[in-house]
């Protein structure tokens, strides 16, 4: 399971693909505070990223993946 939902935290693990978009959108909807754990995420599909950006999610655990850490995580503050 690439995305695990815990209270107001979404934990991304491994390669998270477009298939997860619907479920993530459902989880995000109506949520005030959105926090994400990208620690063990290795790939994040654009569809997921744009949902997180639109929901103004904040990264609480920085990704280990260099690309995500440098270019993507800073978009989620």
């Amino acid at each position: 399971m690439p995305i695990r939902f815990e209270d107001d935290m979404a934990v991304f693990e491994g390669a998270c693909a477009v298939d997860e978009a619907m479920e993530l959108a459902g989880w995000l909807e109506g949520r005030e505070r959105v926090r994400v754990d990208l620690g063990r995420c290795t790939a994040l599909h654009t569809a997921l990223l744009q949902l997180l950006m639109a929901a103004r999610a904040a990264v609480v655990v920085e990704p280990e993946d260099a690309f995500l850490k440098t270019w993507v995580a800073p978009r989620l503050r």
Binding site: M22, A25, L49, A54
Partner: protein
């Protein structure tokens, strides 16, 4: 040529075929969502496959088609005949390129220019679709970098990319962020919403709402390669030239996956130790190549660790194949082997091969009884016992050989859909060009025939359909005037009957003017005037099979100069078949090709003449008669009989073969009635014998130059049978 590339060539052909079929359906039913999706899927898979290799023009070409379809799917454009024409041309070009790739290993010169031209034409056909051109100043954001951004990128030579993904790009399997990840020497990546974020509930998760602005230190070409599957969605500007850096090749997963899965399947096949070992070596090589191409170094190292243990290797390869696909095999072309046509390669179902294998096994067992019998003979076993043993063994071997023969024949059997395939497109294009409205109805595609027969059938069938379109079917105006529906019908049907495979091409067009055919045949000196006058309507129509007779006064680009029917007849008869034609003026024409089921085995009618046996292909024989001598009319040496109220010329086989005249005093003559496609003749022979299935061997060496013989066959009792080619004898 590497295996991946060979696979690409085969697959690309299949995809182009599939796309063509879907396009035909789409043109007929512009609202057919299934057809659009099939077409789209075929093009998309093809685009992915071209991306595997360095052939940007091909990718561009296919992409242009995909784009046009996207416009259709979104209702921005309609499927007009013009658009369909452009798409068909695109597919045709694709086919030519694949041929070129197959032969030369690369695309033809100037492919890029041609691809661009097609792209422009397609846009024009879409109507009003604006060309994507970078407006000047689009890259102004590069000058307005923030202080922090300037620290990494500033003062360097850069390649700037503006990537505006298509909103629907997720549906075509694109992941823009993942593409950006592949940009070599990334200096800057800005991810921006295209529009201010809407309420979360109003955001469609499946439409891409982001755009990307990036800078790279790599040269433009290297960056452009990353985006070669989306050339219309990026604008790339070179600022200066930097040192070359090679990017890892983005490998399209579908193809690699299916190859990996196939490797796992190969490993699972049964076989002797030696066979398995050989397969394992091949599989290892293939898998290693793929992993290298994909840059999966870790997997490659792991592969080497399990290489020596077959079980572990198989599990590992399966794991590799599954790792990348979430079970989404829908777009994997390998999943449907049966429906795919084979052009050069013959696809054989595994069960058929297995059957053959087990028969060979049985044969080996049966054969092993022979040395044992030989030993018994040496040791003085009684003749009765030996004879008994030999007979038993012979019986076993006989049975197995019979089954082997049948199994081998089945290997070569393919459905006729293969030769029907080009017809819809042919009819569509020709009807459009000629301004005629034609409905093509196909039936019996599932009928099976030997591969060689299909090869023989292909050309004549095209010819007949072209003829129908060109000469048979009238213009809509003429049809209306004749009280017929404006849309004409061409029916092509296939079925099997006891003599072989029958393929029929029938139209409801103008029919053949028997009078005109008669006149022309006389004019050309192909037949004497009085004989022509004596012909019935049906017989006169069959004159179109005579060499050098054209029924249409005009020459068209479609069916040439009317030499076609003769060629059709020649091709079909060469294969041991025959052609029948029936036509009714004003109501249409029906041409029937009757072909043997296989060319390996020919069914012959045997006759005896002057103490020797001769054979004729059964397909040519229409009857056997006993004719009283008194019923034979003779004018000088030209003899004839009356058959079904028609005069049939009578020939004597002895005379044709230069044998002495028959001096037996008989009251009746044995007459074989033979249809020579357009002409019925009676052939006097000494006596009829049975029919037989023979394996016909063509004459070789010096004998090949002898006219009049189709070949020889050895009969069951060892006698040699000469099979005659009557037309050459006459």
């Amino acid at each position: 040529m590497n295996p991946l590339f060979e696979q690409f060539v085969i697959e690309a052909r299949e995809l182009l075929d599939a796309a063509g079929a879907a396009l035909l359906r789409l043109e007929r039913e512009p609202g057919d969502a299934g057809a659009i999706n099939d077409l789209f899927r075929a093009l998309h898979t093809l685009k992915g496959a071209t991306g595997l290799f360095d052939m940007a023009p091909f990718t561009r070409l296919v992409h242009a088609g995909e784009d046009a379809l996207m416009a259709v799917r979104e209702g921005r454009a309609a499927v007009t005949p013009e658009l369909a024409d452009r798409l068909f041309q695109l597919l045709d070009l694709g086919v030519r390129w694949v041929d070129h790739l197959d032969a030369e290993g690369d695309l033809p010169d100037g492919a890029d220019a041609v691809a661009r031209e097609r792209e422009t034409l397609l846009r024009a056909a879409l109507g009003g679709e604006k060309a994507v051109e970078a407006p000047s100043g689009a890259f102004s954001w590069v000058d307005e970098l923030t202080e922090a951004e300037r620290r990494t990128a500033g003062g360097r030579t850069v390649t700037a990319v503006m990537y505006d993904p298509h909103p629907d790009c997720f549906f075509t399997g694109d992941d823009p962020l993942d593409l950006c990840r592949k940009i070599p020497d990334l200096l800057l990546l800005r991810i921006e919403p295209v529009e201010p974020w809407p309420e979360l509930s109003a955001l469609d998760p499946y439409r891409c709402a982001l755009r990307f602005r990036t800078l790279s230190a790599a040269p433009k070409d290297d960056v452009a390669r990353v985006f070669r599957s989306v050339p219309d969605q990026v604008r790339i500007a070179t600022m200066t030239v930097a040192g070359a850096v090679t990017a890892p090749e983005p490998v399209v997963e579908g193809l690699a996956e299916s190859i990996l899965r196939e490797q796992a399947r190969i490993l699972a096949l049964e076989g002797t130790a030696a066979e398995r070992e050989a397969r394992r070596a091949v599989v290892l090589r293939t898998v290693r190549n793929i992993l290298t191409a994909q840059g999966r170094e870790a997997d490659r190292a792991a592969l080497d660790r399990v290489a020596e243990t077959p079980e572990a290797l198989r599990g590992f390869v399966e794991g590799l194949a599954d790792a990348r696909t979430g079970g989404g095999a829908a777009s994997v072309p390998f999943a449907v082997p049966a429906a795919a046509p084979a052009r050069r390669a013959l696809r054989v179902e595994a069960e058929r091969m297995d059957r053959l294998m087990s028969l060979v096994g049985e044969l080996v067992v049966a054969k092993s009884r022979l040395p044992y019998l030989a030993r018994e003979a040496r040791e003085g076993q009684s003749f009765e016992m030996l004879a008994q043993g030999l007979k038993e063994t012979q019986g076993q071997i006989d049975a197995i050989v019979g089954e082997l023969q049948a199994a081998v024949l089945r290997l070569r059997v393919l459905p006729l859909s293969r030769v029907f395939e080009p017809l819809p497109r042919l009819v569509r294009d020709a009807a459009r060009r000629l301004g005629k409205s034609v409905e093509l109805r196909l039936s019996g595609e599932e009928t099976q025939a030997d591969k060689d027969i299909l090869d023989v059938l292909g050309e004549p069938l095209l010819h007949l359909v072209r003829n129908s379109l060109d000469h048979g079917i009238e213009t809509p105006d003429a049809r209306r005037a004749a009280g017929k529906p404006e849309t004409a019908e061409i029916r092509v049907s296939a079925f099997q009957d006891k003599n072989g495979v029958v393929v029929e091409v029938a139209d409801d067009g103008a029919g053949i003017d028997a009078g005109a055919v008669r006149r022309k045949a006389v004019e050309r000196g192909l037949i004497e005037a009085d004989r022509a006058a004596a012909l019935t309507e049906e017989e006169a129509v069959r004159l179109v099979f005579l060499p050098g007779l054209s029924t249409s006064s005009g020459v068209s680009d479609l069916s040439g100069r009317g030499v076609g029917m003769d060629a059709v007849r020649a091709a079909v008869e060469q294969a041991g078949g025959r052609v029948e034609i029936a036509s009714q003026r004003g109501h249409g024409t029906r041409v029937r090709l009757v072909l043997p089921l296989t060319m390996m085995i020919t069914r012959v009618m045997m006759v005896e003449t002057a103490g020797a046996l001769y054979g004729f292909p059964v397909t040519l024989v229409t009857g056997m008669l006993r004719v009283r001598r008194g019923d034979i009319r003779a004018v000088k040496r030209a003899e004839s009989i009356v058959l079904h109220d028609a005069v049939v010329p009578l020939l004597r086989l002895r005379r044709l073969l230069g044998l002495p005249e028959d001096d037996r005093a008989v009251g009746t003559e044995a007459v074989l009635v033979v249809d020579l496609g357009g002409q019925t003749v009676g052939l006097v022979v000494d006596g009829f014998r049975e029919r037989a299935d023979v394996v016909l061997k063509p004459m070789t060496g010096v004998l090949a130059r002898l006219r009049g013989y189709a070949g020889t066959a050895v009969l069951g009792d060892g006698q040699l049978l000469l099979v005659l080619n009557l037309r050459e004898l006459l």
